[in-house]
Symmetry: C2
Subunit: 566 residues, 2 copies
């Protein structure tokens, strides 16, 4: 793997906006634009176009002034903030055997950092601080980040650090920020903020190595993934994750059950609380920012699945359901949920309450099993909040459009305003190979209704592990869905980028149009196919006689010359 | 070009369902499925899976028993029905100079058919017959076609020929069926029917030849395009269209203004009613099934566009607006609209009332200009209906999700229930290169609200002319949007395909899953990437330990063996 990885965007440079409370420096991307040139009455009239600030998930990779070395990991941005709170301590070693026992086979990440943990088992979560009335640097950071375009519009800051604090205290938003992942830039997930997207990466036992997963991680950050889940289930899970966490500027989530089952060589029956607990601590000390835990699926739910077409399609859900069936015991995630919270709060790892019974096809949507589990997730939300553990609630799945709204309504009613995090939903089953599209339709809609984060689906969903290009396709499709929802929710700064891009389009400032787009490289590639060396203010879609924008400009000039005669 | 073009689908064969009134034979695709095999208590238990009927837009190309010769054109399915009505006559030649004058340069379609026209200027439209209480073969045909999956579900036919007649008579649906395009299989466009999609093809002066356009036409029919618009603006417009119409089993639409302007070498100012009228007649006699005519854009609307970011983005709209501005005359489409109707009714060509002022960006959505034009379209709808001319009304464009519903509501209110036909809408401007996705999100939503037909947007929208692969990407994205809307509208037969595909997925009947999908070739291609030669009931997404469906099956078997102990 190349040590110096970089992310770049055309006509862009990195700026930092400084906070007034803690002096945090929030990285953003500034896209510079060329001038508008119009010919009015035969004369050239130029007009400046102000640069546009774009929400930036690429972290230090897009800052030429920061040294990057993949074998050392990213700069530890939050280290000082965490230390200055003086409520955590650095441990002398990893608390679990696995953390120390890993083989020295060349796969190991070279730069080992000793983990931190809360002093005396105290909570150190952003929710805890928020409830104490404390505005942390993390809160100030996300407030600045969320407002990025308001200043350009002359809007007085709508999202203040104090507003962020209030949302966190109420559980209506989370900042996933494990104290052992200080490399991550703070970001916030909640209904009252920009809609976020998560990209899944991870190998399986059949495919992909560490290099490839790190590449996919950076690729996701490049195209706009706000968080990253490492769903590896194959070999070297710990090492893969270490390379990813140390090099990722966004929060990282996992499903710890996967590694636990790998430790047991797939022998699910041997699964128990002790080995799971060790894995959870191992991952907390590595710096995982949020964990999907399928604690809401109970034994009593299983008979509700009888009529289902596709049974259980959540991997975690199916494992724990199989375990309950074989062991004839209640779900140990549920029975040990307070123990789980006791661990998470000491590292500020958030819990993402998994929906093990999410529907896997249209005909299973919104059934009794799904909603029975959701109601338990509501109960668990309150339990986690009692321990000041930050909570996400996961949602479907496959749902036809007319039955999406009720999912959001039920989640809001049942889960007390905790942010919803959905996989799509896919609005039809009949398009394998295009499920980034079947699901972007549902994702845009549910995000408009209030879902805080969308989990990307790639074109290879149901068919194969995604490669780098699939991650790009999935992330861009979901950036579209998230942004469409931000527009529909009337987020004040959201339309600025659309406006600036469309103005560039009307001006035939092609490069500006592409530079402002979600995927400048793709836009340029398609444009070049159509150019045939011609650059005369129209494209091959229409040819010279039929360009509506050119004709409109001519008409406008005609009107300007004889304004009274129109 | 190869004379014998074919369209094929895996595990599929053509069936014909016969009508009881006129004996029409409606082609459909039957997908045969393999058996479900389960191991229960160590024994193999098999279960038959009934074949699934799929709506088929591929016409005779997918029927091995029909001889295909591109240089001769498709069989003339409706010829006999038209002749038997005895209200039309075959002309001895084309009525317009251009129809006869075309050059013999080898591009000309070899098999010339003399055109038909109504006797004595009488209406011969499906709307006219419907209003007379006549159920035509076309009406019976579409009724059978729309019900395709109800029989399999044991649902008594919901859509009767009489229901079709009623919808046509009321103007709430249209069957685009020019008497000079007897090759086309009847299909219906209306809110109370399956949502349809249109694909645009056509060259520009800068790109693409006749062969390529015919290929794109068949490609669209293969992937599910219900109608086809030939938007050619380059050379050989008449010849290109002739090849397309003679070989296309779906209705074909055009914007006759484009050819008119090409006849004037782009000199818009010379445009007048006479040359347009000739072009309209030329195209009616060729067999164009519906015409986009921008008759609702009036001089008084132009001042409403002052604050727009992207002005007029409709090609037709910008041409006629420029003409009005230069000539200081009212839109001649509007002033001659009754003359237009008088022509169209003699061929049963439908009018698609163009929205010349559709918004071209998010910030122009739903503005005064757009709705002022829509209100004129409502007035023109009534005028066309007076002449028994079938009407579609075109809609936007670029609209954020929260402002889509009002477009549908206004159209319904203003246009008296005439079917709505929208371009997307695109729900954000910021993703050139992905506008099939930005627009599929809006298209699915507006179709759910009642839009009858969706105009496909390809990934190259705004950037270049689409090629064959772009047509495929656009058509499949729009089939997804249309089907998602059919599900949301609770069309009774719609969920059957989803169900059968998902059951196949759960059974690991991979081939059945792909054969039932919108793009079996793409699904198979992605699946193969993930297989690595392994065929053991799980895929590379999850590997052997983590396949939720495999685990669910194991759990179900476990429950079956000890049912009382769960």
């Amino acid at each position: 793997m190349k040590k110096e990885q970089r992310i770049s965007y055309p006509a862009s440079h990195k700026i930092y906006v400084k906070g007034e409370i803690h002096g945090v420096e929030v990285g953003m991307r500034l896209v510079t634009l060329t001038d508008t040139v119009n010919i009015v009455n035969g004369e050239k009239v130029t007009e400046k176009n102000p640069p546009v600030t774009v929400y930036d998930t690429s972290g230090p990779y897009s800052d030429r002034n920061v040294a990057i070395d993949i074998t050392k990991g990213l700069p530890r941005l939050r280290q000082k903030w965490i230390e200055e709170r003086r409520d955590t301590e650095r441990l002398d070693g990893f608390s679990t055997p696995y953390g120390n026992m890993r083989p020295e086979d060349g796969r190991r990440f070279p730069a080992v950092h000793m983990p931190r943990r809360a002093k005396d088992g105290q909570p150190v979560s952003q929710m805890y601080y928020a409830r104490q009335g404390i505005v942390t640097p993390e809160m100030e950071y996300v407030a600045i980040r969320e407002n990025l375009q308001n200043g350009e519009l002359g809007i007085k800051t709508a999202i203040t650090p104090e507003f962020v604090r209030g949302e966190l205290a109420a559980g209506k938003a989370i900042i996933p920020a494990n104290i052992n992942h200080p490399e991550a830039e703070p970001m916030i997930i909640g209904t009252n903020f920009l809609v976020k997207i998560n990209a899944n990466i991870g190998n399986s036992s059949l495919m992909s190595g560490i290099d490839e997963e790190v590449e996919k991680a950076l690729w996701s950050c490049k195209w706009g993934g706000d968080t990253l889940m490492d769903l590896s289930t194959g070999a070297h899970i710990h090492e893969t994750r270490e390379w990813i966490i140390r090099n990722t500027p966004v929060p990282v989530g996992t499903v710890p059950l996967y590694q636990t089952v790998e430790k047991l060589d797939g022998n699910v029956e041997r699964l128990d609380w002790e080995i799971y607990r060790d894995t959870l601590i191992e991952q907390c000390e590595q710096g995982v920012d949020y964990f999907t835990i399928h604690a809401g699926l109970l034994r009593s739910h299983l008979p509700l699945l009888k009529g289902r077409t596709t049974g259980i399609v959540s991997r975690g859900g199916s494992i724990i359901a199989g375990w309950m069936t074989r062991r004839r015991e209640e779900n140990f995630f549920y029975t040990h949920f307070e123990d789980i919270c006791h661990i998470l709060k000491q590292y500020d790892a958030a819990v993402s309450l998994g929906d093990g019974l999410r529907p896997g096809c249209i005909s299973d949507a919104n059934d009794a099993g799904q909603f029975a589990e959701l109601s338990v997730l509501g109960e668990l939300t309150r339990t986690a909040w009692k321990h000041h553990v930050q909570v996400l609630v996961e949602g479907p799945g496959h749902v036809p459009m007319d039955r999406i709204a009720v999912n959001m309504e039920e989640q809001l009613r049942t889960c007390h305003g905790a942010p919803f995090y959905t996989l799509g939903p896919l609005t039809t089953d009949i398009a394998p190979g295009y499920d980034h599209i079947t699901s972007a339709i549902g994702a845009a809609q549910i995000a408009w209704y209030g879902t805080a984060m969308l989990c990307c689906v790639t074109p290879k969903e149901h068919l194969s592990l995604p490669d780098r290009e699939d991650v790009r396709a999935g992330v861009v499709a979901y950036k579209i869905a998230a942004h469409a929802a931000d527009l529909a929710k009337r987020h004040p700064g959201a339309p600025l980028r659309d406006y600036a891009l469309s103005k560039a389009r009307f001006d035939f400032r092609w490069r500006d149009q592409f530079n402002l787009s979600l995927d400048p490289e793709k836009a340029l590639e398609y444009y070049r196919i159509g150019r045939l060396g011609d650059d005369s203010g129209h494209c091959t879609m229409c040819g010279p006689h039929f360009c509506a924008m050119k004709l409109t400009k001519e008409m406008n000039n005609c009107i300007k010359q004889k304004p009274d005669e129109v």
